[in-house]
């Protein structure tokens, strides 16, 4: 097939993985891929406003639902692509692991410090984190100590710089940061599944389908797993 240009809108937390996927797909197919990385909300709104996107990978199923309801997705192309886990992190390397459960003394550990999270009502990582804490019965106690960042990376930075002693972020974020330690993973049943859905946009032509296929393939899986994501098997 003739080399075509494909525009992919992807949540910014996928930056590195998408770089690998893009290179692999281009090498494999000869198509040219441009990946626009921004917050899921911004990307979704742009797609609603007629952005020339062919594929959308969201970090927030809610926005994908929104687009689906608005008829902006190519029917039948939506898949849940990736799964992530939520971890409790502490400042500094080599912090002692804890057992995450209803008896976790998180409020006491925080003391006067802050628990860094993403916006608990707006950003998925914050929403999931709040849900998990509520489920564990910890939310009431820690709520006044929560510092909400505009995204997970900013929450991570708060812990990494020591501004906040603890934080709740995705496992993928905690992995590569030397100044934080993931001291526990929230059990998957404490929060809604953390899913990254992908879909082709209505009216997308050419290699969009091929790209979605590639995302489900082994090379992409390797790239995602290298960054700490779990790939949803279908």
């Amino acid at each position: 097939a003739k080399a075509e240009r494909l525009t992919v809108f992807a949540a910014a937390s996928l930056t590195d993985a998408m770089a690998a996927v893009e290179a692999g797909f281009e090498a494999a197919t000869g198509h040219e891929v441009a990946v626009s990385l921004a917050g899921s909300s911004a990307l979704a709104r742009q797609i609603e406003a007629g952005a020339p996107a062919d594929v959308f990978i969201s970090a927030n199923p809610g926005w994908m639902d929104e687009l689906e309801a608005a008829g902006r997705l190519a029917p039948g192309t939506r898949v849940d692509l990736l799964r992530n886990a939520l971890v409790l992190i502490a400042h500094g390397p080599g912090a002692a692991p804890v057992e995450i459960g209803p008896e976790l003394d998180l409020a006491a550990r925080l003391g006067a410090g802050r628990l860094a999270m993403a916006l608990v009502e707006a950003v998925p990582a914050g929403i999931y984190g709040k849900a998990a804490l509520e489920r564990l019965g910890l939310w009431e106690d820690v709520a006044p100590r929560v510092a909400q960042a505009d995204n997970v990376r900013a929450a991570l930075a708060l812990v990494a710089t020591g501004a906040a002693p603890y934080g709740i972020v995705y496992a993928t974020d905690a992995r590569a940061e030397d100044d934080v330690t993931a001291i526990g993973t929230f059990p998957a049943e404490t929060h809604p599944p953390i899913l990254y859905p992908a879909a082709a946009i209505a009216g997308a032509e050419g290699p969009a389908a091929a790209f979605l296929d590639y995302l489900a393939g082994p090379e992409a899986r390797a790239a995602f797993e290298a960054e700490g994501f779990a790939v949803v098997a279908d």
Partner: protein
């Protein structure tokens, strides 16, 4: 009024407090810096000039991050200031600091342009009448640059009302403490269907800033009329 919830009104009150403090507290330093850049020659002048403009050039997130590293609870300046009881991290004071830093280039530039337009001959006349340099500044320069100071202050206030990136990165978003109007708006815009609430906050924010703007225009016009004659 019930078209804004209690939390939103809290954000409005907080934004007002943060912006007013950011403007008021940076005014003296802004004026001093503007004067120094307009009138003095000193080594490193262009470095100071560059530093003043830095927040304009850097993406706000970077500025916020630098503030976090310096003035955060673990930052060198943050720790030092904590000793004397001044805490910026996760406090509304930090939001004010972020807003002030982001607004500083605008404030300084407006004041500097006004100061450069003052005829040094008038200042010299003040000196021959016995006024020492600080007095000349207070009695001649300052009244003549009043429109520029006002312009600088209102620009800074408007910018402070709209500042988001550096603020949330530095002091995050704690309801009642650091959740300013822009932070609240951002949160609303992150969820599908939040546009309505965001719009209401935008309206409040615009109304407040426009009020300040109109007030400043009216004041500047009064000053201009006085200087112009009659």
């Amino acid at each position: 009024m019930d078209w804004l919830g209690a939390e939103e009104w809290q954000a409005v009150a907080l934004s007002l407090r943060v912006s007013l403090w950011a403007t008021a507290a940076s005014l003296p330093l802004g004026l001093f810096t503007a004067y120094a850049l307009a009138r003095w020659e000193f080594p490193g002048k262009q470095i100071v000039n560059g530093l003043v403009h830095l927040p304009l050039i850097l993406p706000p997130v970077v500025t916020g991050y630098l503030l976090l590293l310096t003035f955060g609870p673990q930052g060198p300046a943050g720790r030092l200031l904590a000793e004397v009881g001044v805490v910026f991290g996760f406090r509304w004071t930090g939001a004010a600091l972020a807003a002030a830093v982001m607004a500083f280039p605008l404030m300084v530039r407006a004041m500097r342009l006004s100061i450069e337009a003052v005829d040094p001959k008038l200042e010299a006349a003040g000196a021959t009448l016995g006024a020492s340099p600080p007095w000349v500044f207070a009695t001649v320069t300052l009244p003549l640059v009043a429109p520029g100071v006002l312009a600088g202050a209102v620009l800074a206030f408007a910018k402070a009302m709209g500042e988001f990136g550096a603020t949330i990165t530095f002091v995050s978003n704690i309801p009642g403490e650091t959740r300013t109007i822009p932070s609240a708006i951002y949160a609303f815009l992150q969820v599908p269907g939040g546009e309505g609430a965001a719009l209401r906050l935008v309206a409040v924010s615009v109304a407040v800033a426009m009020g300040a703007l109109l007030l400043s225009e009216w004041l500047a016009r009064r000053v201009a009329r006085r200087v112009g004659g009659a």
